[in-house]
C-alpha cells in the first residue's frame, strides 16, 4: 500500500520517490499536479480562487497566482527542473449558477483560466486536464510513477 498524503482546501503537499498525494471532491476549486519524473518529485496544490487581489490573508495557497508561485518555489528548491515538469490540472466545475454576492460568476472557469495564465507566465504549460462540467472530482498523484487519476461519483476512473 502506498502512503496516502491528503491535501486539503487551500493547501499543498510535496513528496519524493513514493506516496500518493490526494485531494478530495474538487468542485469549482482546481487541483494542480506538478511532477518531475527524473527525480520522482511530486507536488499537489488545491486552490479555490483565481487571484489574491486586495485580500490581506495569510494563506497564499488559497489563490491560483500566489499558490502556484509558492509551489514552484518549493519544487525548484527540492531540485525540480522547469524543463522536466509535467503539469496536470482538474476541477473548475460549475456546480451551481450564481449572479451576485461578490461577482463570483462562473468561478470554476475563471479559476481554470487563471491557473493556465499564471503557469504560462512562469514558462510552463498544462499537459493534460479534466476541467469544467458540473461534477466534483477527486484527484490523486502517484509520486512513484507520476500517474494522475481522477475519480468522480458514478463515473469510471480517468487517468490523466
Amino acid at each position: 500500500m502506498t502512503k496516502k498524503i491528503t491535501v486539503g482546501i487551500a493547501d499543498m503537499k510535496l513528496a519524493r520517490q513514493e506516496g500518493e498525494l490526494i485531494t478530495y471532491a474538487l468542485g469549482s476549486c482546481i487541483g494542480i499536479a506538478f511532477y518531475d519524473p527524473m527525480i520522482k518529485l511530486g507536488a499537489l496544490l488545491h486552490i479555490m480562487l483565481p487571484e489574491k487581489g486586495q485580500a490581506n490573508d495569510s494563506n497564499i495557497l488559497k489563490f491560483a497566482d500566489t499558490g502556484i508561485r509558492e509551489t514552484l518555489r518549493k519544487v525548484y528548491a527540492f531540485g525540480g527542473m522547469k524543463g522536466r515538469l509535467v503539469i496536470k490540472i482538474a476541477g473548475g466545475a460549475k456546480m451551481f449558477e450564481m449572479k451576485g454576492a461578490g461577482n463570483l460568476g462562473n468561478i470554476g472557469q475563471r479559476n481554470a483560466q487563471s491557473v493556465k495564465m499564471v503557469l504560462m507566465k512562469e514558462g510552463l504549460r498544462v499537459k493534460s486536464e479534466d476541467t469544467g462540467a458540473n461534477y466534483a472530482r477527486t484527484m490523486s498523484l502517484d509520486v512513484a510513477t507520476g500517474r494522475v487519476v481522477i475519480r468522480s461519483a458514478g463515473k469510471p476512473e480517468r487517468v490523466l
Binding site: 486539503g8 482546501i9 471532491a25 476549486c29 479555490m48 494563506n59 456546480m95 458540473n134 461534477y135 477527486t138
Partner: protein, 206 residues
Amino acid sequence: MAIKKYDEMNELGIDMMREIGSIGGGNAATALSSILNAEVNMELPRVEVLGFNAALHSLGDPESVVAAIFVELSGEIEGIMLFIADKEFSHAVLARMIGRPGGDFLELDEIDSSALTEIGNIVIASYVTALSTLTNVKVELSVPQFGVNMLGGIMSLPMAMMGQYSDRIMMIKGKFKIGGQALNSHMLLLPNVESLNVLMKKLGVE
C-alpha cells in the same frame, strides 16, 4: 462597529445569528411537517466559524454523495442558502411524498428531482421569510437549483464566496428529525460578511 471578517463577530452577534437560525429553522420545520404529514423537529441550531477544511469535515465526508438545493440570496442580505440531504433522507422524503423511494441516487428521474427541489425550496423560503420578518430586511431568493454530487464539490461555491475575504467561513446550521428519526440533512445559511453588518445594525447588536 462594522466587521470585515467572520471571526471578528462577538458573542452577541453569534447569539443573534443563532436566534435567527432558530426562528428560521422552526418555521422551516413546520412547513416540512405539513408537506410530509409527519412530525418534524429541528435540532438546536449551531453557529460555526471555521477554517475551510474543518467546516467541510463538520458536514461529513467530502466525497459522500448528497442532494443539494441551492438558493442565492440578494437584496439587503446577500449569500447562499443550502439544503443538503443524504441518500437516506432523500429516500425517506420521497417515500412519504410520492409513495416510493427514489431510484439510483445519481440518476434520479425528473419526478424525484423536482419533488426534492420543491421540498428544499419550501424549507428555504420559510426559513428566509422568518428571517426577513424578524429582522425587517428585504431578501430576494433566486430560482432553486438542484444537484446530486460530492459534498466537497457542493460546498466549493459557498466557500469561494466567503473565502474571498477570509480564511474562515460562517455557517448557521440546522438539522431536521422526521418522525423522531434522526436523518442526515443540513440546513445552511451562509451570509456574506456585509450582510452580518446589516443584520447587527437592524437588530441593534453592536
